[in-house]
Amino acid sequence: MKRKTFSKIFILVLIFAASLFFQSLICFCENTNSGIENFYRANFLYEQTQYTEAIKQYEALIEKGLVSANLYYNLGNSYFKKGDLGKAILYYERAKRLAPRDIDLESNYAYARSLIKAKITEQRPLWFVHITGKLFAKLTMDELTLFIFFLYIAIVSSIILGLYLKFMKPYTRFLLIIFGIMLILGVFALGARICCHYADAIIVKEAEAKFEPFERGTTHFVLSEGMKVSIRSSKDGWAKVKRIDGKIGWVNQSFLERI
């Protein structure tokens, strides 16, 4: 008697949770079309080479809380045409997070970056970070999350199959090792991605990085417009940033914008 009720409750919980999951997924994937007219108006303005007006329209859409890769891309283009390289790269970076496999975006991003004044060679991160970063570079954060999720399901189901199907037993360990390694890599990459997500910023105006978070501090190095930095900490409107070559200094937060 007791066991039957237990299994019934268990199945109910399962169904409930599954429905919750799909509901959330549906909500998540839902297309919102309110405010789409801003986008088309902005495209028209861009065609008329009225880039400042176009930017206003695009940004109005963002203020409504709606974003898309194409929107960021078009904003990047508008800023680029206006001559604002820092902002252009900022928006290309934002677009890249949503559409890492877009060819137009890649080419524009590469071109914009080639226009950055100071050429600084990048300090290579640790090999492990580098490889995992490269491995999943072409996946968006959501795709990566789903990838990890499916690996997790695969691990659970291979354990269960190993328990109940005798012929699966010899392969279970092998499968578990493979899925496990992939899962670890995926989780690591996702972690790194989330870290970068909040730390990375783009210099929007040419700035000087100082040794101390004060205006009177000695200048340590120069940050050109469009450069990518990662924010370590911040204090009184100053951010401690690390340049791609590894140099660290303080810069006024008004010169940079988080991606």
């Binding site: 999951f21 998540f28 297309n31 859409l61 809380g65 709606l66 898309s68 959501d142 659970v156 189901s157």
Partner: protein, 615 residues
């Protein structure tokens, strides 16, 4: 262990059998028929009686026959308790020639013993072919060689170095089915060969006009040219194909009328479709060889060799075109030198300008079309003083006329204009020849155009890894896994741990007995009722304490349950119920329904108590 023993036993038995019968081994060679028509095969059987494990002897080499191993067949028979075994290795014989033949004697050497057979007679006749009208007056031996053969032909045998010689390989087939014909190959020391053209197929009569034989001919054509001087043997050409031989030919009585229609009916009834259905056929791989051809290669004559001669051999025409003919200094002129004709184009090299003065000259580009080689060369005049493109001569050796020929074309007049001052002189490269690096191609660089559609709009900052529903869902697979693991563990334990299984199932069984007793109570059957109550109690206690059910009596109350710290009241009730059961079962005393109800309640009380105590 047991299996191993049995294996040994079988081995020893088998060894015994083979040893037993090794003494009276008989070897016999037989054919399935003693008369066969040309084109048909005969089965040759090597039978060993009293042996089963002798391997197939190598296919015997018999003159005028092709042999092929078909396979073994073994037989064991027991007659009146006497065991006899035999193995027969079967070969097929395909005769190449008509006549009477003696095959064998054969001898086989096996494990030191030599087995010999008697020779056998086999007659090969022309078979049904004799009936064909044109073969009636033929007396000579018909050989397979006459019905399928290969001929290698060249147009001439005395050739010059590098001269192109047409070569033909012909396959003649008469009234045989041949398949899977490969391209011929031949030894060609000192010669280089072009690829074979598509083979041509036609029919040809060989021999006298009336007595001639009609052959199907497959002709392969190509060109060869000598690369060394000296005397060489060309060939022999080899060609592989498969001969299709009918296994059983249906014997047909042919009337004169059928003879009249001759080939038509023959072809019709022996068509492939009929063969496939009614008669099996066998495939024999056949390699045909042609005769050799002696070749003599000589060098080109020294005398009369023009200075411009550059090795070209053949019969050619030479044309020259140039354009544009009016241009400015630095503009390119394209020369087209067309060499057309028959000969070895490998030897044809670009004709040379007699003078390069006033021009910058680029290397020519050659294109070869059938019987035409075109050289395109770019010239750029460097001064306006150039008035013509100089003469171009082309020399070649004509092997038909056996002399050298020279054709001169040009000069072609051109008008070269001066450059206007501001233009300045610049050398224009030949289009397509000079490599332009990709970077140079980009005239202006700009970003790609904006996207026309907004794409998938989503809430800013909405990421799947932050989605609560998604995160909550992660618990489900884990929960499922835990539940399944626990149930699996439990099931495994139930399988192996019998006391546990009994302990676990005791209350369920007790519940069943209780319900049964309740039903009996309602029907007022005291005897059966107490029987059930007693049994239920016995089984319950037996399962719980892991004791044999039959041994549970009132005595266990003192012996086992009391030391376990069971309350005295319960022990008392247990004793009461046991005694009530005994009374009801063995003494014919009457029990009222109320008493029975009391007993049932007692039973329930005991079970509930013991369940609570988790005995």
């Amino acid at each position: 262990m047991n299996k191993l023993k049995i294996n040994y036993l079988v081995c020893i038995l088998l060894l015994g059998v083979s040893l037993c019968y090794a003494d009276d081994v008989k070897f016999e060679v037989t054919t399935d028929k003693d008369k066969v028509s040309l084109g048909q095969s005969v089965k040759l059987n090597f039978s060993f009686y009293g042996l089963q494990n002798i391997p197939a002897p190598q296919a015997p080499q018999i003159e005028n026959f092709q042999t092929r191993y078909l396979g073994p067949s073994t037989r064991v028979s027991i007659i009146n308790g006497k065991v006899s075994s035999s193995i027969t290795h079967t070969y097929t014989l395909l005769p190449f020639k008509t006549g009477a033949f003696t095959i064998g004697p054969f001898s086989v050497n096996y494990k030191g013993d030599v087995y010999a057979s008697k020779p056998i007679q086999l007659e090969v006749v022309e078979g049904p072919l004799e009936e064909l009208p044109w073969s009636l007056d033929r007396e000579q031996e018909a050989e397979l060689k006459d019905r399928i053969f290969l001929v290698l032909e060249v147009e001439k045998t005395n050739v010059y170095l590098n001269e192109l010689v047409p070569l033909t390989v012909k396959l003649y087939v008469q009234n045989l089915t041949v398949r899977d014909i490969q391209y011929p190959q031949f030894k060609r020391e000192g010669f280089s060969m072009e690829e074979f053209q598509e083979p041509r197929q036609y029919q040809q009569v060989i021999g006298r006009v009336l007595g001639g034989v009609l052959y199907d001919v497959i002709e392969f054509k190509t060109n060869i040219f000598a690369i060394k001087t000296g005397k060489f043997m060309l060939g022999e050409a080899q060609l592989s194909c498969n001969l299709i031989v009918k296994k059983e030919r249906r014997k047909r009585q042919r009337s004169r009328a059928q003879d009249f229609f001759g080939g038509f009916f023959d072809d019709f009834f022996s068509g492939d479709a009929f063969e496939d259905f009614f008669a099996g056929y066998e495939t024999y791989p056949l390699t045909l060889e042609s005769a050799q051809i002696p070749m003599t290669v000589v060098d080109l004559p020294r005398e009369g060799k023009p200075a411009e001669f550059d090795g070209a051999i053949g019969d050619f025409k030479f044309e020259l075109e140039a354009g544009p003919q009016e241009l400015k200094v630095g503009d390119p002129i394209t020369l087209r030198m067309i060499i057309e004709g028959e000969g070895n184009f490998n030897t044809v090299r670009s004709p040379q300008l007699s003078s390069q003065e006033g021009f910058k000259v680029y290397d020519p580009q050659a294109t070869l079309k059938d019987n035409k080689k075109i050289f395109e060369q770019v010239l750029i005049p460097t001064t306006e003083n150039v008035k013509k493109i100089p003469k171009i001569t082309f020399s070649f050796f004509n092997p038909k006329k056996e002399n050298y020929e020279t054709i001169a074309k040009g000069a072609i007049a051109i008008k070269v204009a001066k450059l206007e001052k501001e233009e300045g002189f610049r050398m224009v490269g030949m289009p397509g020849v000079e490599l332009t690096p990709l970077k140079e191609e980009i005239l202006g660089r700009d970003i790609a155009y904006i996207k026309e559609s907004a794409g998938k709009l989503k809430r800013k900052g909405a990421y799947l890894y932050k989605n609560k529903g998604f995160l909550l869902f992660q618990a489900i697979p884990l929960l499922t896994l835990v539940v399944l693991l626990v149930t699996h563990k439990k099931r495994e334990r139930l399988k192996t741990d019998i006391p546990y299984a009994r302990w676990l199932h005791a209350p369920k069984k007790a519940r069943k007995g209780f319900n049964k007793a309740k039903a009996l109570l309602e029907s007022n059957n005291a005897h059966a009722f107490y029987e059930v109550v007693f049994k239920t109690l016995q089984e319950y206690l037996g399962d719980k304490l892991h004791l044999p059910t039959g041994g549970i009596t009132a005595s266990i109350v003192d012996d086992i349950l009391e030391p376990k710290g069971i309350a005295q009241e319960i022990l008392k009730i247990l004793k009461e119920i046991f005694s009530e059961c005994d009374m009801a079962r063995y003494a014919p005393s009457e029990f009222s329904q109320i008493q029975m109800l009391g007993s049932l309640e007692k039973l329930e009380e005991i079970i509930n108590y013991l369940e609570e105590q988790k005995l």
